[in-house]
């Protein structure tokens, strides 16, 4: 898959709504993109998308690799339709009220409704009010309807997604948009699946798009239990460079994906990922994660009897805002690295993981 094709896939994924708990549309896009490269695509009982690619290992049972990227995005949910037809809401996932002001949104009511989160005009604010901290409960969504129309169209519990369209920037490879956390990871899975199409690999591979990561890694809990893989790699995003912050808090864009190191990850597995990158001259960075990774890797590691787990992260700026920004090169390199890693997997390596 070349950069142009990847850009199209990523922008379609970014454009599509898929707030935690309502990921159906995003799953449909990912499913269509993965389909040509795999043996079969299905959804598990929780709704996670599982795209299975048969390997060539004939031993019984065969060994399997799960590549997991969460497909849900942060968003909001309606908590009340008020007397003027304005919608009050609560956040889904770690959404920051400061970045919601002035945003366009889509309300998933009886129909899809365009809405905006307005701010009181600066003319009408006192100096003191302008400096005040912003709280979610002070914000509202304006869909233009009066109370009667709004009540007809919208109910408590309706989902709200950000409506920011993705931007292909003039700077080569830079894409900005909503939900790149973690459609970037999903796109990396698609790159990997494309790379593995028509080439030999021994392990069975489950490309897994997990649901509800942003509200507590919930899809990954059930996916890990159901798939019982021999090893798992979570693919997610990490913080991109930012003035005033330095490595290892932030990672350079365009210098390759970051391989997580720390107690959440199996050392032999991370070493092997690094070896794969070095041997193939793929750029990569190393991300020390001293404790909870906060990614799907966290629950995969302790599923059932334990699963050797690793984390590959794409650097991204402005996480959990509507203008998350990344470099496509990092995505391509992440997908290609996963593919060469999958190809080198054999049973002795998998058996060797059982004793660190």
């Amino acid at each position: 898959m070349d950069e142009k094709a990847l850009q199209e896939v990523l922008m379609e994924l970014s454009r599509t709504a898929g707030v935690s708990g309502q990921e159906g549309d995003a799953v449909a896009v990912a499913s269509r993109c993965l389909q040509p490269f795999v043996t079969k695509v299905e959804r598990d009982r929780f709704g996670n998308l599982i795209a299975f690619k048969q390997g060539e290992e004939t031993s019984d049972p065969p060994f399997s690799l799960v590549l997991a990227a969460h497909i849900d995005e942060i968003g909001a949910m309606v908590t009340k339709v008020d007397e003027s037809g304005f919608l009050r809401f609560t956040g889904i996932g770690g959404i920051d009220p400061r970045v919601l002001l002035g945003q366009a949104v889509e309300v998933h009511g009886r129909n899809r409704l365009k809405g905006v989160i307005g701010a009181l005009a600066p003319h009408l604010l006192t100096e003191k009010e302008r400096q005040k901290e912003l709280k979610m409960e002070e914000l509202y969504i304006d869909i233009g309807f009066d109370e009667a129309q709004a009540t007809e169209q919208v109910r408590v519990g309706d989902f709200v997604s950000l409506a920011q369209a993705p931007l292909a920037m003039q700077a080569g490879g830079c894409i900005s948009g909503k939900s790149l956390d973690n459609r970037a990871g999903v796109a990396a899975l698609i790159v990997c699946a494309a790379e593995l199409a028509g080439v030999r690999h021994r392990c069975n591979v489950y490309f897994t798009a997990t649901l509800q990561e942003e509200v507590g890694l919930r899809g990954a809990i059930t996916a890990a239990y159901g798939l019982v893989p021999d090893l798992a790699i979570a693919v997610d995003v990490t913080h991109g460079e930012w003035p005033g912050l330095s490595y290892p808090e932030v990672f350079e864009l365009g210098k390759g994906p970051a391989i997580g190191l720390g107690p959440n990850f199996h050392p032999a597995l991370t070493r092997s990922l690094e070896d794969s990158a070095r041997e193939n001259r793929f750029p990569y960075q190393v991300e020390p994660v001293p404790g909870v990774s906060g990614t799907d890797a966290w629950v995969f590691q302790v599923s059932r009897e334990g699963i050797p787990t690793a984390l590959l992260s794409v650097p991204l700026r402005y996480m959990h805002t509507p203008v998350e920004l990344l470099n496509l090169d990092d995505l391509l390199n992440a997908g290609r690295l996963l593919a060469v890693f999958a190809r080198r997997l054999d049973r002795p390596f998998v058996e060797g993981l059982k004793c660190i």
């Binding site: 935690s20 708990g21 309502q22 598990d44 009982r45 929780f46 709704g47 949910m77 309606v78 908590t79 009340k80 009050r88 609560t90 889904i92 409960e137 109910r155 408590v156 519990g157 509800q212 509200v215 507590g216 919930r218 809990i221 059930t222 239990y225 159901g226």
Partner: protein, 329 residues
């Protein structure tokens, strides 16, 4: 259901010490189900056999309470919370231990009331010395709030409505279910919900259900200057869309709504910003269990005087009965 709710509300059962509630419930439910059993954590299961897949219906037996952390030389007792309990709610309140020992809570000298925290509170059981106190209470003992049940017109007031009101609804529905069911239903009275949905984790693992339902209380926004919440007492049970522990399965939520509409049962839709129920544990059990929650609107949750509406309780029971007796899509 009034006397049932009274008995359950007044029973002693803080998280980890649910035995008395379990005994009470088991005696009441066993003649209405095919069999009852318990597990290693103390969950009580009451099974109505039928075709697979099984519907798990869970209400938790435990209530918020306190644990004894220290007894001083004069016999005053220091406390820590078990579950989400605020220290200022306990000043002047009575607490009760499993053996019936009662005491009252007060605080040390304070400059300002906002200095009040758990380290400033103590429990006085009327003992003159440490030795006398230790004859009745030991470090690690659990106490519940000591509050009588009251009927206020159409409303019930008492401790532990969270979630004995839910337990009462399960029991009432078990009594009413017809002889033939479209699928197995297992009523689960779970332990340790208030400290992290722990009983429901093992109960769901054991049952491996096809669907999960929790019946629990939820907060309301209908009191003076309440935080924003579109739920009021007396407007019917709530069908949960989201809380901190779960986003309800859209198919389950849709079926609950359709069932309520078809039966003419009033309902409200609930988005709870903080809090969780047993369904939070059930829905991520094993490979995932499509789950929902039927909520009873409740004022003053996690205080000594929780208030629910009798009509909401009746309607919740009516809806749960339909949900147990109707084939699911």
């Amino acid at each position: 259901m009034e006397s049932l709710i009274k008995d359950l509300s007044e029973a002693y059962g803080p998280s980890g010490e649910e035995t008395l509630v379990r005994t009470l419930l088991e005696d009441l439910i066993k003649e209405h189900v095919d069999r009852t059993f318990t597990d290693n954590l103390g969950n009580l299961f009451a099974l109505r056999e039928g075709p697979a897949p099984l519907l798990m219906v869970s209400a938790h037996m435990d209530e918020i309470g306190v644990i004894v952390t220290h007894i001083d030389e004069k016999g005053f007792i220091r406390l820590a919370p078990v579950g989400g309990l605020l220290p200022h709610l306990l000043v002047g309140q009575r607490l009760r231990f499993k053996d019936g020992t009662v005491g009252t809570v007060y605080h040390e000298k304070l400059k300002e009331i906002k200095e009040l925290d758990w380290s400033k509170l103590y429990l006085d059981i009327g003992a003159e010395s440490a030795a006398a106190a230790r004859k009745r209470v030991e470090v690690g003992d659990l106490a519940c709030l000591h509050q009588p049940f009251a009927v206020l017109g159409e409303r019930y007031l008492g401790k532990a409505m969270d979630d004995r009101a839910g337990c009462a609804i399960l029991l009432e529905v078990a009594r009413r279910l017809p002889p033939e069911l479209p699928r197995s239903v297992c009523f689960v009275f779970s332990v340790q919900e208030e400290v992290g949905l722990r009983g429901a984790i093992t109960a769901a693992y054991r049952l491996n259900p096809g669907y999960g339902l929790a019946v629990d209380v939820t907060r309301v926004g209908d009191t003076p200057e309440a935080p924003l919440m579109d739920i009021a007492l007396g407007k019917g049970p709530a069908i949960k869309v989201k809380d901190s522990s779960m986003i309800s399965h859209p198919r389950v939520r849709g079926f609950m709504i359709d069932t309520a509409v078809a039966a003419g049962i009033p309902y409200q839709l609930e988005v709870l910003e903080r809090g969780g129920t047993d369904a939070g544990a059930i829905h991520v059990s094993r490979e995932g269990v499509p789950s929902g929650t039927l909520s009873i609107p409740c004022r003053y949750v996690h205080t000594p005087s929780e208030m629910v509406d009798a009509g909401d309780v009746r309607h919740a029971a009516a809806l749960l009965e339909k949900l147990c007796a109707t084939p699911w899509p």
